[in-house]
Amino acid sequence: MKILAIDTATQVAGVALLSENKLISESIINHQLNHSKKLMNTLDQMLENVELKYNDLDYLSVAIGPGSFTGLRIGLATTKAIAQVTNLPIIPVSTLESLAYNISYSSGIVCPLLDARRNQVYSALFQTNNSGKVKRLTQDSALNLEDLKEILNSYNQPIFFLGDGSEKFMKDFITSENRLLVEPYLRLCQPSSVGVCALNHLDQATDFIKVEPSYLRPSYAEENK
């Protein structure tokens, strides 16, 4: 079984191709936000390099958010188009849960942080226990920094911080010895983690019409109406 993973939720534009027991190829461009220009070419090149065609795949997976609204839509529009032509099912993946899979062999609480601006972060909590299994503890949401701090205080385990907001809010959250900032190369969104996360959620496969972004916030105009 082969699965293609696409992630343009953050500054990283990434694609990966994997099966249950093998990472076949992965590309990460952690440079600038012009995903629309790079994504399709990166994808085509990757398939060409490993001599595979869309017909050889079984699933598509895509990071549906939270993340940059525009970034999410570039990934989803591309994934929907591929699925519409090939009839491949799409497995939608939470950007936050995929980040937890970056360090699924840790033991403790994983707390991904994405900068949501306005003094908020997109976050959710996950439990790991050395096994590679990731258990979700809380739902993805946009949280005030103070509210998240209070939630974290109720956990008496090591807490691992990662994601593109983890460095920015380091001072707010890394307040004791058992709170750790994950290494830079494991801190960013990795498309292979999106793929692994999808392999653990095959039951959530859907089609190109139903898959939708998880913005976690209405548009500014709707909020202020």
């Binding site: 629309s36 399709m40 070419n41 525009t70 994934t79 519409q84 019409i209 972004p213 548009s219």
Partner: protein, 334 residues
């Protein structure tokens, strides 16, 4: 050659299949206007959110209406500018995904050139060279079409587009959004000579337009009337405002046709559906033995058939894009 056209530059999600640039096999337009009306104008983020969910369905409908599958499509044409960047990105990303998976060419199309090409669909005999007046909510351009892909902008609006001025004045009179068609209707029973508003012609040699002075003048009239307690006749106001715009559009179009010795003039864009514009421009051109062409209403507002039509001519002239095609919100004609 069958081209699938895709258009998401503003608040219409559209897909169409056009054969050889002129024959429309299907034309689906999903307007978001009802969604944006309650905000008094297009909200870019809401437009983008809706495009993403609607576009794949609209494309399926276009295939179905043409009785085709993706295998019958030879190339994909997509609007890549000008327009709202977030909205354009949906069409461009999706179109590249389709083209790459189908292994067929992708063609980035200029939205304004698309409006001009709407004329090829309705007027099968029309061929360049001709002069085109493009008037819509976002654009007022006078363009010399030397050939299908050789266009020269003679004049453009330096401030508000004509359609934009319509919308703003309609709001002042209290007609609501979108104001263009409502203002036109209001003007039908009004006297266009009732109020004297300025005709801004700029330099006598210029083909550029400016409508912000006219807009201010109308606002001043409304405010001073209110101060003096004089009741405003909205029909006369609408008719007088509209006439000031039409006089400028017609004067410049006629002068450009004469200067470049052109005997064919086409109109395009949403405002080209305006009946008063069509009637008065036809009369002025008739008197000078100049032929006038216009698209059917359905092809004058934003649609994807016009994008597929222009995409065909881009394709046969070798203007083919690649995987790096990007949205360009301020794309110009060059």
């Amino acid at each position: 050659m069958n081209i699938l056209g895709i258009e998401t530059s503003c608040d219409e999600t559209a897909a169409a299949i056009v054969k050889d640039g002129r024959e429309v096999l299907s034309n689906i337009i999903n307007s978001q206007i009802d969604i944006h009306t309650k905000y008094g104008g297009v909200v870019p983020e809401i437009a983008s959110r809706n495009h993403l969910m609607d576009l794949p369905i609209v494309v399926s409908q276009a295939l179905e209406e043409a009785n085709m599958t993706f295998n019958d499509i030879d190339a994909i044409a997509v609007t890549n500018g000008p327009g709202l960047v977030g909205a354009l990105l949906i069409g461009v990303s999706y179109a590249k995904g389709l083209a790459s998976t189908l292994d067929i060419p992708i063609i980035g199309v200029n939205h304004l050139e698309g409006h001009i090409s709407a004329n090829y669909i309705t007027n099968k005999e029309l061929e360049p060279p001709f002069l085109c007046l493009v008037v819509s909510g976002g654009h007022t351009n006078l363009i010399l079409v030397n050939d299908y892909t050789d266009l020269k902008v003679l004049g453009r609006s330096l401030d508000d587009a004509a359609g934009e001025a319509y919308d703003k004045i309609a709001r002042v009179i209290g007609l609501g959004y979108p104001g263009g068609p409502k203002l036109e209707k209001e003007a039908e029973s009004g006297n266009p000579k009732a109020i004297e508003f300025p005709r801004v012609l700029l330099d006598k040699d210029s083909f550029d337009f400016s409508f912000s002075g006219l807009k201010s003048s109308v606002l001043n009239y409304v405010n001073s009337s209110k101060q003096k307690g004089i009741e405003i006749n909205s029909h006369d106001l609408a008719a007088s405002f509209q006439q000031a715009i039409l006089d400028v559009l017609i004067e410049k179009t006629l002068r450009a046709a004469k200067e470049f010795n052109i005997n064919k003039v086409a109109i395009a864009g949403g405002v080209s559906a305006n009946k008063a514009l069509r009637k008065q421009l036809t009369k002025a051109l008739d008197e000078n033995d100049i032929e006038i062409y216009s698209p059917e209403f359905i092809y004058s507002t934003d649609n994807a058939a016009m994008i597929a039509a222009q995409g065909y001519y881009d394709y046969i002239n070798g203007n083919i894009s690649d995987n790096f095609l990007d949205a360009v919100p301020n794309l110009t004609i060059e």
